[in-house]
């Protein structure tokens, strides 16, 4: 009846996961109780769970990402504190079996369920607004993509209490991940979580590419697209081109494990190195999928907070597309030690060094954007400026590792771990936090508190430096990665500094949570409220909308006549001292909400869970459920709802009023 699932799957003898799960369970129960008590279920169902509005879905992605980033941070705290007390004779507090699960879960969660959803969420939120569209190309598919990502995250977290997680690292290298060496359900949890979330990501990539290429407002030619849209286009093209490779690779490993196929096994002609090649043929583009949108966020922020157009816009576009293409030619640098020979290694080493040129162009463009501008040091800008420094350091160490002879010495060491955290934390995470602070007022109508934001920034900066600078050093000293026990007592001081650093990062994260709480409390305060919809003196179309924008975004699709679409409209209005005339409002058709997304994801979660535990009848039933959810959606006859002219006019006039008032103030002060 329940396949392989029985009571032995619950880790009753291990207090740590049970306590954690109990805590999470209590928090979930408390939230559910609160929602029920306040009667919010109807609102949640109508406005969020079944919503197909790209802004809502973007926010949901970001909430999922924030939760998972915190979950991944807990793993990081455990690793750093454990290593600090597991030197020499001391054994630390985590048995090897548990420690291996923690570093595997840390990497999996941070990349797939922290960084990825955050990036996808910000793209979802901002791209349609920036290109002047009312939604993405396929809104229901978009909802399904989000819920499928959430499914994957749920499965990974279920593994905490039911069964175990993989002990094979964030990429389950074969043959270690084959049944002969990993007989438990850990790798299966990994495979199904990644497979389901991966499909969600692929569909989201298809959706956003179509949106950017086809749904741009009149006059928004490709070379007038804001930089963030260009980098999003690059990232989503990479998703469409790279994620299917992940799907295929995960499928092969799944068949090896479930049906005894021989893709990656040691015996019967299988080829374990093929796994490493295939997973990195996806994996290297993946790091650019993460970093390109972050580059876009920084571009928007540098330009906005310097009060200048982005320096070298076209070279930036070229550099982005250059990176998109070249990112597919460097994957072998992840395993120079495979033994492919000097010529192959040299070719990939050179390609890897060349890809840094594209990023170098960008770094100089950002610096020149600030040069001569009136720079404002608000929190989004602080994160961006810190990124410039951390990313240059991370990039340099990357180029160092790209030299095959150096890589033979440094591979699999803490130097490598420091390098990729340097670029992923210092690039992607700084980027998404900057983007979160930057677009938060657009999503909710009030800004985040600056004081707590700066406290968070400095704590994170100290924590980041204290963790990763010693890590480089330890790597050079010869410390390998993923050590459950550290044999050289001479490294203890470094391990202590790193443990202290991770605690500073915890303090920084606490400050971010505090910032959110304080800002929600003071949201009506003059200091935080955003009546105008343009809190940062922005330059792209989203800042021409009220905060939060109406669900249809634009009362009338904008007619774009140059780069920095909103900046020119704004300058013109200020020069003339009046807003452009009210347009002739038209009726708007918007997609109707539908629970298809969450239904599909619900059954997909069940399919994943049932496959992990070999509960085959449940797989069948849930498969039928997915099919019926599709048919139910396909059978709707009315796909859109009409927004009446009156409703559009009312919303637009309400948005124009504060702008008109602000203009009148400027006229009175004689500043037009």
């Amino acid at each position: 009846m329940l396949g392989r699932l029985d009571w032995s799957a619950i880790p009753l003898h291990e207090p740590l996961p049970l306590a954690a799960a109990g805590g999470v369970g209590l928090a979930v129960a408390a939230s559910l109780f609160w929602i029920t008590k306040r009667g919010h279920w109807g609102y949640l169902w109508r406005e969020w769970i079944t919503s197909v509005d790209h802004k809502r879905i973007g926010v949901l992605y970001c909430i999922l990402a924030l939760l998972m980033l915190i979950r991944g941070l807990v793993d990081a705290v455990m690793m750093r504190t454990h290593q600090a007390v597991a030197v020499g004779d001391a054994q630390g507090y985590l048995p090897p079996d548990h420690y291996d699960q923690i570093f595997s879960a840390h990497g999996t969660i941070m990349i797939f369920f922290g960084a990825m959803p955050f990036i996808v969420g910000l793209m979802n939120f901002a791209v349609p607004l920036q290109i002047g569209a009312r939604d993405v190309a396929f809104p229901t598919l978009n909802a399904a993509s989000f819920w499928l990502t959430a499914s994957g995250a749920l499965l990974v977290n279920v593994s905490l209490v039911i069964g175990e997680f993989a002990r094979t690292g964030w990429l389950p290298y074969a043959p270690l991940s084959e049944t002969s060496y990993s007989p438990g359900v850990g790798v299966d949890y990994y495979l199904w979580a990644i497979q389901i979330a991966g499909v969600g990501t692929l569909l989201s990539g298809v959706n956003l590419v179509t949106t950017i290429v086809k749904l741009r407002a009149p006059g928004m030619t490709m070379l007038r697209l804001p930089m963030f849209c260009w980098t999003s286009l690059g990232a989503n093209l990479l998703i469409v081109a790279a994620f299917p490779i992940l799907t295929a690779t995960v499928t092969m490993l799944t068949f090896d494990r479930y049906l005894g196929f021989h893709f990656f096994t040691n015996e019967a002609g299988g080829n374990p190195m093929m796994f490493v090649n295939m997973i990195w043929a996806w994996g290297h583009p993946e790091v650019y999928i993460l970093i390109l949108p972050a580059f876009g966020i920084f571009s928007e922020i540098f330009s906005t907070f310097s009060g200048k157009p982005l320096f070298g816009y076209r070279s930036m576009v070229a550099a982005t597309m250059f990176i998109v293409v070249v990112s597919f030619t460097v994957w072998l640098h992840h395993f120079f030690t495979m033994g492919a020979g000097a010529d192959v290694n040299a070719a990939f080493g050179i390609a890897t060094s060349i890809i840094a040129v594209g990023t170098g162009v960008k770094i100089f463009n950002w610096i020149f954007t600030m040069y001569g501008g009136s720079v404002r040091f608000e929190t989004p800008m602080l994160w961006s400026m810190a990124f410039l420094i951390t990313f240059v350091v991370g990039g340099m160490t990357g180029v160092l590792l790209a030299v095959p002879p150096a890589d033979f010495v440094l591979h699999n060491s803490m130097f490598l771990v420091a390098h990729f955290h340097n670029v992923i934390v210092g690039g992607v995470v700084f980027g998404v936090i900057a983007g979160y602070t930057y677009w938060f007022p657009k999503a909710f109508g009030f800004r985040l508190d600056e004081r707590w934001g700066k406290i968070a920034f400095w704590f994170h900066m100290i924590g980041f430096t204290a963790v990763f600078v010693p890590m480089y050093w330890l790597g050079l000293e010869g410390m390998t990665r993923r050590l459950q026990h550290v044999y050289d007592a001479g490294w203890t001081p470094f391990l202590y500094v790193m443990a202290a650093g991770v605690l500073a990062s915890v303090a920084g994260t606490a400050a971010l949570i505090m910032q959110l709480a304080v800002s929600i409390r003071d949201r009506r305060d003059e200091r935080l409220r955003d009546d105008l919809g343009d809190p940062w003196d922005g330059r792209t179309l989203e800042w021409g909308l009220p905060s939060p924008p109406p669900f249809f975004n634009f009362a009338q699709l904008p007619d774009v006549s140059g780069e920095e679409a909103y900046w020119s409209i704004k300058r013109k209005a200020i020069e003339q001292g009046e807003l452009p005339e009210e347009p002739d409002y038209d009726m708007i058709e918007m997609p109707r909400p539908t629970p298809t997304g969450i239904f599909v994801a619900f059954f997909s979660t069940l399919i994943g869970f049932a496959c992990i535990w070999h509960i085959w009848w449940l797989v069948m039933v849930s498969g039928a459920g997915v099919y019926l959810a599709f048919v139910g959606y396909a059978w709707r006859d009315v796909h859109e709802r009409d927004v009446s002219v009156d409703e559009v006019r009312r919303a637009d006039q309400a948005a124009r009023a504060p702008r008109a008032a602000a203009l009148a103030r400027l006229v009175k002060e004689g500043r037009t």
Binding site: L203, G219, M252, F255, G270, M274
Partner: protein, 202 residues
């Protein structure tokens, strides 16, 4: 030649009609799907030599069977296209008829594939036997699963055409289905050449 200047306002007039957006999105999806097949092709090519003393391509291929399969699938592409032409002319009875023919040809194709697989398994040439056979079954089987999904989609579409008639959204879905079915054909051409023809001559 004529000296009519191109208007500068040929820039970008805004979003095109919905059927164009849908078709574009579906093309993007198909590109992804083809890349997934490419990965399986690559896997097959890498593992083709890993026979572990078991049968090789020449030992397992039954060309007559595959020839009939190919004939079915190529013909089904024709019937699928005819269904599209009829749908465009809003002759829904003919559309249904050609869709039905497409589905039947798909079912015959699948039956032949199942026959091929069961013959192999009877002879001990199972995917567990060697890496080469794993790659073979995965590549051909993945195409087969796509055909199964296509037939399921086709049946659902036929029901929808019967109930809803030639509505705009039904037409859009039909055209997406046709892209999908043609893509399966293209993948089969690759399979036929690389796995079967190349396999039977080496």
């Amino acid at each position: 030649m004529s000296a009519v200047p191109t208007p500068r306002r040929s820039e970008w007039a805004g979003p095109p009609a919905k059927d164009i957006v849908t078709a574009y999105g579906f093309w993007m999806f198909l590109i992804g799907d083809v890349i997934m097949f490419a990965s399986f092709f690559a896997g097959y090519a890498v593992l083709a030599g890993g026979r572990a003393g078991g049968p090789g391509p020449a030992d397992i291929i039954e060309l007559p069977n595959v020839a009939v399969q190919t004939l079915c699938l190529l013909t089904s592409t024709l019937t699928c296209a005819l269904a599209g032409v009829m749908a465009e002319r809003r002759r829904m009875a003919w559309t249904q008829l050609w869709l039905l023919a497409t589905g039947l040809l798909g079912v015959i194709f699948l039956a032949l594939e199942i026959r091929e697989f069961s013959h192999l398994i009877e002879r001990g040439a199972t995917p567990q036997r060697s890496a080469f056979l794993s790659g073979f079954f995965m590549l051909v089987g993945c195409h087969g699963v796509h055909v199964v999904a296509g037939i399921l989609w086709l049946g659902t579409m036929m029901a929808q055409v019967a109930v809803r008639g030639p509505k705009a959204y039904v037409q859009r879905r039909l055209s997406a289905f046709m892209l999908y079915w043609h893509a399966l054909d293209i993948v089969w051409v690759g399979l036929f050449s690389i796995v079967y023809i190349w396999g039977s001559i080496t």
